[in-house]
Amino acid sequence: MNTINLTLEVWRQSGPAADGGFVTYEANDVAEDMSFLEMLDLVNEQLIATGEEPIEFESDCREGICGTCGVMINGKAHGPEKATATCQLHMRKFDDGDHIVVEPWRATSFPIIKDLAVDRSPLDDIVTAGGFIGVNTGSAPDANLIPVPKETADAAFDAAACIGCGACVAACPNSAAQLFTSAKIQHLNLLPQGQAERWKRTEAMVETMEQFFGSCTNHGECTEACPKEIPLDFIAYTNRDYVKSKIKNRKLAGQS
C-alpha cells in the first residue's frame, strides 16, 4: 500500500459569528487509495486522540450524488479533478510532500456554520419558488401518453443531473447561482410536462435567485468546477426564457 505525507492548512471557525483562521496540520501515512474525505477522517481521529476538536465538514453519500460535500482545495471548488465532487477525489491524485489548503465555500449567500460547513439553504428557496410541475398525486395520465423525444429527454436529463452542491456559486467571482438555477429551470422547461408553468417558473426562480446571489458575468468558472459538468448553454436558455417570461406572463394574466 503506497502512502504519502501531506501538510494541510485548514480553515477553522468555531461558529457563524466567530473569527476564523487557518490551522496547519501534518497528515502522515495517508494511503493513496483513500478518498480526500477519508484523509480528513484520519486527521480527525488524530485530533480526537490529542484532545482537539475534530474539523467539521459535511458529507453523506460519499459517491458524488447527494451534493452534501464540498470544500475549496487549493482555491478550487471540489479540488483539482474535473467532474469530481470532493468525496470522489482520491489521494493518489496528490504527491508526497504536497501542501494543501482546505477552505469552506466562500460566498456571502452561504454563511459559514462551522469550520468547513456552510449553509446552502438559499438553493432550496430557489426551488420552492417554482422548481416543480404542479401535478397532485393521483392526477397523472398514463406515463406513455406523454411521448418525449429521446433528444429532449436527454437534454432535460443533462440539466437534471445537478446535485445541488453549490460549487458553481463558490467558484464564481460574483457568487452567482446561475448555473444551478438554470439547471433546475431547464430540466423542467425542456420537457412537454413543464410547459404549462414555464414562464411563471422562470420568472419566479430567476427573481428569487437574484434576491440571494450575485449576477452572472459569463466567467464560466461554474461549469469548470461543476462535478456534473452542467453546460453553460442552460444559462443561455434561461436568459432567453427569462426575457420571454416577462412578456408571456403579462399575456397570461390577460394584459397583453
Partner: protein, 640 residues
Amino acid sequence: MIGSLDPRVPDGPVADKWTNHKFDMKLVNPANKRKFEVIVVGTGLAGASAAASLGELGYRVKALTYHDSPRRAHSISAQGGINAAKNYQNDGDSVFRLFYDTVKGGDYRSREANVYRLAEASVDIIDQAVAQGVPFAREYGGLLDNRSFGGAQVSRTFYARGQTGQQLLLGAYSALMRQVAAGTVDLLTRTEMLDLVVEDGRAVGIVTRDLLTGEIASHSAHAVVLATGGYGNVYYLSTNAMACNVTAAWRAHRRGALFANPCYTQIHPTCIPASDEFQSKLTLMSESLRNDGRIWVPRDPDETRMAKDIPEAERYYFLEEKYPAFGNLVPRDVASRNAKTVVDQGLGVGPLKNGVYLDFAVARERDGVESIRAKYGNLFDMYERITGEDPYERPMRIYPAIHYTMGGLWVDYDLMSNVPGLFVLGEANFSDHGANRLGASALMQGLADGYFVLPYTIGNYLAPLLGTNPLPTDHESFRAVNAEVAERTRHWLEIKGTRSVDWFHRELGKICWDNIGMARNSAGLEKALSEIPALREEFHADVRILGGDEGLNTSLEKAGRVSDFFELAELMARDALTREESCGGHFREESQTDEGEALRDDDNFAHSAAWEWTGSDTEPIRHTEALEFENVALTQRSYK
C-alpha cells in the same frame, strides 16, 4: 404491549382487498383535513412523497430531516431502477406476476396482501413520476424504455441513467417544495428526531434536536409518520450514506413499537471491495452490470497472472456452473453467498484477495466497446475513480456488502405500527420484502407507501379524532421526554473517555459482519450476544466527545446514533439466533440443503417475529405474526 399484532388485512380475494378497503375506510372531508396536524419524519422518497401528498390533500404537515435539504436523503444514491408492472414491453408482465415474484423473491416471509397492493400501486408511481418531469430513459419513439433487473425474467424496470434514485427523489422533493410554497408543509431541516412521545397508548408527538443550535424542542400532532430509512450502517461499512441510522425507529421501539425481523439484512453482490482499514463506506455498482458481466475467480488459489492471461479452462465461473438457468442473474443473496464461498476458499482476487472478477470481455466482443460505454459508462468511470484500475481493460473486482435492511418497525396493512397514531413508511418498516428484497423494489415501495397508501390509510385513523387537539407540548409527557433527551446529550459530553465514536462503531461493525453477516451460526450469534453488550458498556464509559452541545457537533450526533446501533445489534443477533432456518438474506449454516442452498423451515418459521422492548438489561419479548399464503404456493427456491 401497546396495541395488538393484528395485521388487519381486509377480507376478500387478494386482488380486491385494496379496492374494497379504500371504499370501507373512514374519510376526512376536505374542509376538515386542515384541522389535523401530521408530523412526517424523514424526507427521502417515502417521507417526501408522503408529506407532499398529505399537504396536497389539505392536512397540516410538519416534515423534518436531519439533512440540510430533502434532496440529500439516502434515496438519492439509488442507481439501478424502479419496478412497475406496466407491461409496456409486452413480455407477459402483470400485477400478479410482480406480486408473485416479490413474494417468491422474499422467500415467503412477507404478507401477501401488502405485496399485492404494492404491485398494484407500482403502475401509478411511474405515471406520477413522469408527470412530475422525472426523465426516465426513453426509446427513440419517445416512449419509456425498460430493462430486466436482478433475478427478473421480464423487463419491468424503469431507469434514469445510473441515477434513478436521484431523479425520483428530485420529483418527490419538487412536489414537497411546492407544498412548502403553498404553506401546507412546514419543513424543518437539520432537525433530528431523538424521541417519540406516547400518551395514553397513542403516538402524540416527537422531541427533536436542532443540529445547528443544539436546541431541544417538542412537537405535537394527531399522528406521527416515520420514513427514516434503514439500519444497514449498524455494520459500519455498508453502501448506505454516512449518516443513515436507526435512531428514529429505535427510539419508537423503546417507547413500545415492535421491531420486526431485524435479522433480515441484504447483502449486495456488486460492490467495490474495501481497500484498507480507513475505508469509510463501500460503493455499490448497479447490479445491472450482471446483465453483461460474467463472474469468475481463478481455479488456482495461488494464481498470480493478470486476469486476461488466465485461460478459459482455468477460470471458475461459479454462478454459471452452479445455476445454468439463471447464471450470473441469480438473486442477490445467492450471488453474494457464492462469492463468499469462493473467497473463503482462498480463490479471491485483488491485493487483499477479497473480491471476485466481474468480466465484460464477452459483451465487449459481442456488442462493441461503445455499447458497453453507453450502458455502463458512468459505473465504469466510478470504478476507475475509486480503484485506479481501468475496467475497460481488465475485469472489475467486486465483493458483497451490506446494502439494505428488510427488517424494521412492524406495521399493519394500513402501515400503522402497533402504537396507534405511529405510521412507518419506506425502508424503516418491515413490510413487503420478506426476507429478501428484489432489485428495484425499494424505490417502488417507498413511493407506493408515500404517494398511494398512507394518504388513504391515515384518514382512517384520523377521522374519529375530529374535534380533538394535539396534546400541548408543555404537557407532562412532553416535558419528561424532553428532559430525558437533554440528559442523554449531557451524558455523552460528560464521559470524556479516550476513544472516538468511529472507533467504537468500527468495532461494533466487525462483530456484526463476522457473526450476523452473510452466513450465521449459533456459536457466532452467541458470541455476538456476549461481545456486543461488553463493547456497549465500554462505549458508555470510554467514548470521547469533544466540543459542546450548542452549535454543530457531528461527533455528538454520531454518539447517539451509534448507541442505538448497539442496542439494535443485540436484537439482530437474538432474532437471527431464534430463527433456526435459512430464508432470503438470513442464512443459518445449520439449515441448508445438501447442495448448500438456504433451507426454509415453513412448519416452524412461516411467521414474522416482532420484538417488544422490555429494558436495556432485560430480554425482549418475541411476538409472532403468522404468514398465510393463499395465492402463491410455497416452494423451495431454485435457480438451477
